[in-house]
Amino acid sequence: MPVTLYDKLWDEHLVQTDENNESLIYIDRHYLHEVTSPQAFEGLRRKHLTPWRLDANVATPDHNVPTDRGNKFEAESIKDEVSKIQVVELDKNCNNFGIRQFDITSSKQGIVHVMGPELGYTLPGMTIVCGDSHTSTHGAFGCLAMGIGTSEVEHVLATQCLKITKLKNMQVNFHGQPRTGVTSKDIILHLIKLIGTAGGTGHAIEFSGSYTSLASMESRMTICNMAIEAGAKVGLVAVDSTTLDYVKQHSNLSDSMFDEASQYWKTLNSDRDANFDKVINIDVSEIKPQVTWGTSPEMTIDFDAKVPSQEDIDEVNLENLLLAKAYMGLEKSHTLQDLNFDKIFIGSCTNSRIEDLRAAANAVKGKRISKSIIEAIVVPGSGMVKAQAEEEGLDKIFIDAGFLWRDPGCSMCLGMNPDQLKPYERCASTSNRNFEGRQGNLGRTHLMSPLMAALTAINGKITDPS
């Protein structure tokens, strides 16, 4: 029987299924960060257990770290006492248990989902988990990757397995060629608008079609990253030569090991007649640049479209619409282009890789950010991205244009560190969540691509990128 890529990965990692249809799935890679791991380590200690397999784990602090720390910075220098405790606690736990960590002083530290692939810890066909919903990012490598809760972090540390039930299969075909100014971020936002933030619930979404096969690994990561915003724990892309080229460049495997592995990796795709529970076809050439207007990622419109009003919407959603418009301060606005922005954030595990920074730098080169912008920051996703960008002179372009050039971390994506919006500030953000208060208490977030965010910085307003 023909099977999907998800089915193949599931079968490959299945240790056992019990009479309740719950399965133990073996986990190849476990990423850890400081926020969702302390209680899990505490649980291990309480049970007098040690990690099942140390070399499967890789840790780094990313959520709490200040991004203006410069060199010679240690966890102890974090000013926010509570943040400091968490970062120090991760150091302690990794040292005590012997887990490999890229700590705050490491030149390779970064947002865990940016750091993992570029250091070659993410390999095709792996099962990958992390106490973080954007673990779906790693599905770009044909991995079965998903976010888990803290109890599950403890479970994976203790048993190397996850206890779960199988998801359904969904296929999203992105066909055609995008217009100028349309990026993978616009394409995934468009999908979320279409199917809603619960559209993929209970499913693993495999992204395919001609657009996806031509897309770079970085674009694929952006798409899989936001599968969770479409409700799907798991996003996937089949392995092809693009995947193998990337892995060859980034992994530390010997040539012979790489060749042996490649034979297997090449089988990581869905069989031609595999059955999907749901199939969605999207012609990407019809997509315009997308920007969110509201407080859920599905509240997305074309950058030049009218903000939905009472007349456009059925009764059930009316309450949601009114609450979102009030929160976003949109009662009087008809289009997003009417709005004045205060802050710009280019970063997060969705859009802080080198290609993202190149696209943004290209748009601001030789220009100055608008006088109305209070602060515009660029936060590279990792130490490696930062170094690469500096080698290419992108830092200089940003700084000359009036941006702040920061050190790697989650930063204003969720404002756990000092990078936050103040109440009512409006932000053009390349991150993935526009929830109420996500970037700071009462802050207003509009999600968009790095290119759109860069143009918004220059013009102070949403602008046509074409």
Binding site: I85, S133, G149, A158, A198, S296, N317, M416, G437
Partner: protein, 213 residues
């Protein structure tokens, strides 16, 4: 074993897509403990000021229009809401906050996948009903405070003297709530199977175990 009957006041949140950032905002994720989140549940809606981890409900300026600040809802044990509750971030802190506040069950038409899993690890029962049933329960609860009685063994929600809705939930997950079972203990009973699997993988897929830094 917990009491297999949950009975208490129903608090209603007439909104879709309530994400885990709303259930417990980021600021409180800085705690390294597993308890003590009840005062920060729905923080952004519940208070008028900005909170910190070292504050309690007493220190804060409350939004008295918010349901959980009104009597008798301050003692609610059951939460009724709409679609896709608990979507977004994987933070288990969201369930810890619901649990610490006193919620024992959440009724919705659907849930975020990760949140749904997290509930069963912390004795909070997520109950899925159809949209029609949810609409009806919203009508019943609209005018005055109402208590429901949830019978875990019968998998039924009694919403008035005589009527109830039945719900579906995996038996094994329910068992975990009723008997407060720990997954790690259960899984470690299969230690040998995991070891055998691992050994065969070492042979078949050696690159997964050949990681030099």
């Amino acid at each position: 074993m917990i009491n297999p009957i949950i009975s208490g006041i129903v608090a209603t949140f007439d909104r879709d897509n309530i994400d885990t950032d709303q259930i417990i905002p980021t600021e409180y994720l800085k705690s390294i403990k597993k308890f003590g989140f009840g005062d920060f549940l729905f923080d952004g809606w519940r208070y008028l000021d900005e909170g910190r981890l070292d504050m309690t409900s007493e220190d804060r300026s409350k939004n008295y229009d918010f349901i959980l600040n009104k009597e008798p809802y301050t003692k609610s044990q059951i939460l009724l809401t709409r679609d896709n509750f608990g979507c977004g971030s994987s933070r288990e802190h969201a369930v810890w906050a619901l649990r610490d506040f006193g919620f024992k069950a959440v009724i919705a038409s659907s849930f975020g996948d990760i949140f749904y899993n997290n509930c069963f690890k912390n004795s909070v029962l997520p109950i899925k009903l159809t949209i029609e049933e949810i609409n009806h329960l919203f009508e019943i609860t609209a005018n005055s405070p109402i208590s429901f009685e949830i019978d875990l063994a019968k998998k039924a929600i009694k919403y008035d003297q005589v009527s109830s809705y039945s719900f579906d939930v995996k038996e094994s997950l329910l068992e975990r709530i009723i008997h407060n079972l720990d997954d790690v203990d259960i899984t470690l009973k299969h230690k040998e199977q995991i070891e055998a699997y691992e050994l065969s993988r070492r042979q078949q897929r050696p690159w997964l175990f050949d990681y030099s830094n």
